[in-house]
Symmetry: C2
């Protein structure tokens, strides 16, 4: 029954379309065809990613290079959402993010910082950079920490890597603050993705490999959510104490196949 | 009244005797004389430290080089306490610690690790090393994380630095485990220090710069505890929601002076 009355799909990207890695990553078998089926079907589509290692432009270029038919206008990502919040509240960030993400903040005033923005900085998560971000925060009367996602870890071609959420917890603990999360599983973030797609939550399905950030977050917004058995999926996810997906599927192609059969 | 009926003093070291730093650190004015007064008074003394950047031998050598009259047999530190636990439970650690601490684990079997031991690894807190420790943990059926202390941050001569507790929180979150803390503020650790000194909790005073790990931990064990206004002390500590020291003192010398006047 989970595949009934669907008008739009939100897709996580890393671990669903491709496995990321230092070499740029490799496509997972199947999703490229599945994307074509989705577009041919008339279903609305949104790529709902916590990707913060590249600008949307470069991210989409990489996906296109792997053979995926996607465009920048189809992507909902944390950095633009964070810029919106920074402008709204007059915040000037100290950035601890991946070098390739910095251009997303080109128009933001970064002088005399009054908050820290944390992304998946990868190789920029050095001891020196973490101490620097910590000192900026602890020096504020009321520390403001904005985290682009709160993922625990993700899979790259050379193994599992700590994600931004682990470093967020380190800074939260050191400064005794609670980070504001921009990106999945934040409700506001999923709601923007739905609005951009023009589909209400009850007619949308989220498909991702992350049991908490994709599946749990989307369900909290009233969407159905599937977990794919690709990417960082681990069998123990199926015993998660709090989150149960509406269904498990082996990969994106299987999910889309079932959805299209019901249309 | 806090200085009555004292038979033993437990002293934190970094931030009380000296300020640590890349150059080895610099002594705080006053404590060197205070140590001499303590020894002349007949009070029992124990250095109760979460220092994990050096073996006890090298740590004591450094303190002696700064003019402090201390010996290895007066030091209670986390690494030896951890070795005791590792042997007791047949645990083989993957170490993420400072290079200079490794010799403390010389007699411990480290092949085919079934736990991770985390210390204040400082420059060894690299992105690669954190990912490696994470992968060892997440690969275990039931991850065991032993943390040498849970401090948030400390002060070095070139500024505040994230302490082991921040990295502990990162790994705890990523692996969904709770670390076992060896060192302050663990009750077992304070109790060993008291036993080594041969003084019951109610006749001992802990003196430290850390409101939670020194003051709170010692009070939990039934000791009195003072916070010095040196080291990482910050005025906002005096508004701590949970912990109130038995007294504030400007530095160790002032504390010892008051205690000796009451004897």
């Amino acid at each position: 029954g989970w595949a009934r009355a669907v008008r739009g799909l939100l897709l996580d990207v890393s671990g669903v379309l491709y496995d990321s890695g230092a070499d740029g990553g490799v496509p997972i078998a199947g999703p490229s065809a599945a994307l074509k089926w989705i577009k041919a079907s008339g279903l609305k589509l949104r790529l709902c990613t916590n990707e913060t290692q590249a600008t949307r432009e470069n991210f989409v270029r990489k996906l296109q290079g792997m053979g995926f038919d996607v465009s920048v206008s189809e992507v909902t990502a944390p950095a633009p959402a964070a810029c919106h919040i920074l402008k709204e509240r007059g915040l000037r960030p100290h950035l601890l993010v991946h070098d390739d993400l910095v251009p997303e903040f080109a128009e933001i005033d970064k002088t005399n910082p009054n908050c820290v923005v944390l992304g998946d900085a990868a190789e920029n998560f050095t001891y020196a950079n973490l101490n620097e971000a910590f000192r900026v925060l602890i020096g504020m009367e009321k520390p403001v920490l904005i985290s682009l996602g709160r993922g625990r870890y993700y899979k790259e071609t050379d193994g599992l890597k700590l994600d931004v959420g682990a470093y967020m917890k380190a800074l939260e603990y050191a400064c005794d603050v609670q980070a504001e999360v921009v990106g999945k599983p934040s409700k506001r973030f999923f709601e923007s993705a739905l609005a951009e797609m023009g589909v209400p939550a009850e007619q949308a399905i989220m498909i991702g490999d992350d049991i908490v950030n994709d599946v749990g977050g989307a369900q909290q917004c009233g969407m159905r959510a599937l977990q794919v058995r690709t990417g960082k999926y681990r069998p123990s996810d199926e015993n998660h104490p709090d989150v149960k997906p509406d269904a498990y599927v082996n990969n994106l192609a299987e999910a889309v196949d079932i959805i299209l059969q019901q249309m």
